[in-house]
Symmetry: C2
Subunit: 472 residues, 2 copies
């Protein structure tokens, strides 16, 4: 059951919506998507959706089932631990980290980790360590009270080099500071959890040997589509986020997409616009620009989703094409003072997606001061949120005046329900775009070579020949 | 005098260096920059540098004088305030914020704001508020102990809407909480500083009327070139960063650029590679990818520098061209698990610049645990920094194998001296690239329309017609 504020009297909350008007020729003139063009895309999108639903029915796309996951194991685990932890340290990279960061930034207090413990109501601070920087890692490890720290190692394979290194480092500190023993019993249980493949991989092996608490990444769910399983839900629950509403929102979006065919639902319309901009208009850069500081890390999550899913060398019949839009993160209003000069005057190679919040959680009226100064007085009495939204509207309008397209996703509130909707909409849109581009949206063959090269340079057994090739 | 660790026995530290080999045809094959091509660019770069030096001599480029600024006023101010502040709240946006954030992330403890007060040695936490998000602003304002907070309002014009709104909000809180009076005396002095134009603008007027402490943005220094004046130096000094070394590094880089003509110095070579990639090879996306978490916000600073300077509608004779590379921020090794699939297999439209750190500040040896597990054992005994640098090398090599170009800036250490070098190198490279593209790198006409539209939507006097046009 959704427990969010957005749900009143048991009614389903108003959902997010997509406005594509400022991408159309009607609004921005030559260079916009024509009505014929958009209409011509309806049938391909309908077919794409059909193809995805067939694959879902075959069980080939298990990430699509995640909205119906039972959240209770995570909620129970979180309630057991409430009041006992100061810190939750998540060790993961890519899809094992970006979703958790996105949820934390969107749904926790904007300065959550800086709050006094009392304001966190028995929940731990959240640290997502998704790099192997020695300065950052040592600094963080030196700062934590390990007696009250839980380490959640998140890796489907268990052997991702960065996560493995961070795990070894953290385990080393736990052993040193708390006398954690191999096959360790209580101390181990209090400080380590693994989120990994239910059957295979080195973390699963260690977890079995040492009786460590483990949660599953369901088989067939790739990293970048995993935020709505244990990967994201467990840290979210531990930090007190409303994961039931998160899943309800995702589920509502899923139903809506299935009830409204193709380009009539927001995922279909989004995928179609992005596809047409890329193929027909040469706009190879896709900017995600939330006008909400709390949604900024959702852009980073999306950046992986979009780039890794759609950036591909070959189509599904193996033909070379080297295709894929480049996603960019921008933040309104901040990046108006950094990127808008380029977006407005530079090459016409971008499609901007704005995220606009309907109702902010906090009111912030600008006080009426310096009434005698024209350049300040007009702000007095306005709410900060209305200024932020005016900036979004002004920017979209100014881009449109120059023939530069944008779409807008309206997010009624930044809460768990609507973030769930947004996540599932963008995931579904990614799958649809994969169909339209005729590529495999669910693999990532291009990262293998670099991974192997890292193994080789680090002296891993079996990679000696490659090491010689690189060093030579 | 430089006071950094990098400076030993009074000798000048080893400087940063640029390695362009993996952008060249010799290394990556067809699609790389040929030796003829690079050689052909030498004369244009030499001329570009000459033109810049002529303009500098005429006094037209005052940002170039900043490395020789006297840091003592900032150091003195900081030493007066030492031990008296818990928080420094910087209110600014774009060039008034990005440089300060970049310095803080690079030169302070990686979790500086989360440190206990004692570990900060009498220096304040640093909050750079560069947005008008009501949730973020209210949350931050509600959390600060205002009795021990100093607000530094940074705006050259004084009337930037976002900064003006944040200033009014902060002033409102100060008045409410601390009884700050207009023409206020001591309380005012203890909590407000303005960094603004030395002569004009609304902040200067208010500061004069109310006798508020003010620091100057030197005339003719644009926001994105202002980090080495009061804009960045004042907050840096208050938080204990070594601004003398920062300026020394910038100065050393300036001398080096002037002593080594054109493409022989790193700024010239960098600008030339970027220009050739854009014009001759269709690589319109410029990725800045530090392999150091501490340098991540320097990418955001660079993103503004590069985008706003080079993204232009017209050349210097007024001819329409709509030109400019799109800068992208990526972070190694994190974004290997997010963006590298696209960079390796997607369109060949990117030039990647890696930043690689020679010597990290902290050692972090990976412990030898799970020696029986092949997929973990190879990491034991290695330093985390060597893993990070192996990842960089592996990624560059894997991209090169696919014919994708990269350059690498080697940063001996992440300290004030080398960050100063890096900043000035990239600023000078921007000016050179502007010459090569034949555009004005120092204006930003494309942001005006959006600014006016915001005024109109917020009901500012004089913008009524525009408001009707937008709403109509």
């Amino acid at each position: 059951m959704p427990k969010d504020e957005a749900v009143e009297d048991g009614a389903r909350p108003v959902g997010i919506s997509l406005d594509v008007r400022l991408a159309l020729e009607e609004a921005i003139g030559y260079g916009g998507i024509s009505s014929f063009e958009f209409a011509g895309g309806r049938e391909p999108v309908r077919k794409a959706q059909q193809a995805i639903e067939v694959r879902r029915a075959e069980g080939a796309l298990p990430w699509m089932d995640l909205p119906r996951l039972d959240p209770s194991p995570y909620l129970e685990f979180a309630s057991q631990w409430r009041g006992q932890l100061d810190n939750l340290l998540v060790l993961g990279i890519g899809g094992s980290a970006l979703g958790t960061s996105a949820l934390g930034t969107a749904l926790l207090h904007p300065y959550y980790n800086a709050l006094p413990a009392s304001a966190r109501e028995g929940r731990p601070r959240l640290f997502v360590l998704d790099n192997v920087d020695p300065d950052q890692t040592s600094a963080l490890f030196g700062m934590l009270n390990w007696e009250r720290t839980m380490v959640n190692v998140v890796s489907k394979s268990g052997s991702t080099a960065e996560t493995a290194a961070a795990y070894l480092m953290a385990r080393g500190v736990l052993q040193e500071k708390l006398g954690l023993q191999r096959s360790g019993g209580d101390v181990l249980h209090r400080h380590l959890i693994f989120t990994t493949d239910p059957e295979t991989g080195v973390l699963r092996e260690i977890g079995r040997d040492e009786d460590i608490t483990m949660f599953d990444v369901p088989p067939g769910v790739g990293g970048r589509f995993s935020v709505l399983c244990a990967v994201g839900l467990l840290p979210a629950a531990l930090c007190g986020m409303d994961i039931s509403s998160l899943l309800s929102g995702a589920q509502a979006m899923d139903e809506r997409i299935r009830n409204e065919a193709g380009a009539d639902n927001p995922a279909g319309a989004y995928a179609l616009i992005q596809f047409l901009e890329y193929m027909n208009h040469g706009r190879h850069i896709s900017v995600m620009m939330p006008y909400s500081a709390r949604l900024r890390d959702l852009s980073d999550w999306y950046r992986q989703l979009w780039a890794e899913s759609l950036g591909k060398a070959v189509d599904r019949s193996g033909r070379q094409l080297h295709i894929g839009p480049t996603p960019i993160k921008a933040l309104g209003a901040t990046d108006q003072h950094s990127q808008i000069q380029l977006y407005a005057e530079g090459p016409d190679d971008k499609i901007v997606c704005f995220l606009r919040v309907g109702c902010f959680d906090r009111e912030a009226e600008i006080p009426r001061l310096h009434a005698e100064k024209d350049s300040l007085a007009y702000l007095g009495g306005a709410d900060l949120g209305s200024l932020l939204n005016a900036e979004q509207k002004a920017t979209a309008w100014a881009l449109a005046r120059r023939g530069r397209p944008s779409v807008r996703i309206d997010v009624p509130r930044v809460d768990a329900y609507h973030v769930g909707e947004l996540i599932f909409m963008l995931e579904y849109a990614t799958a649809l775009a994969g169909e339209l581009f005729n590529i495999d949206a669910f693999n990532q063959p291009g990262v293998e070579l670099g991974k192997k090269a890292t193994y080789a340079l680090m002296g891993r057994r079996g990679y000696e020949d490659l090491a010689r090739e690189i060093e030579g």
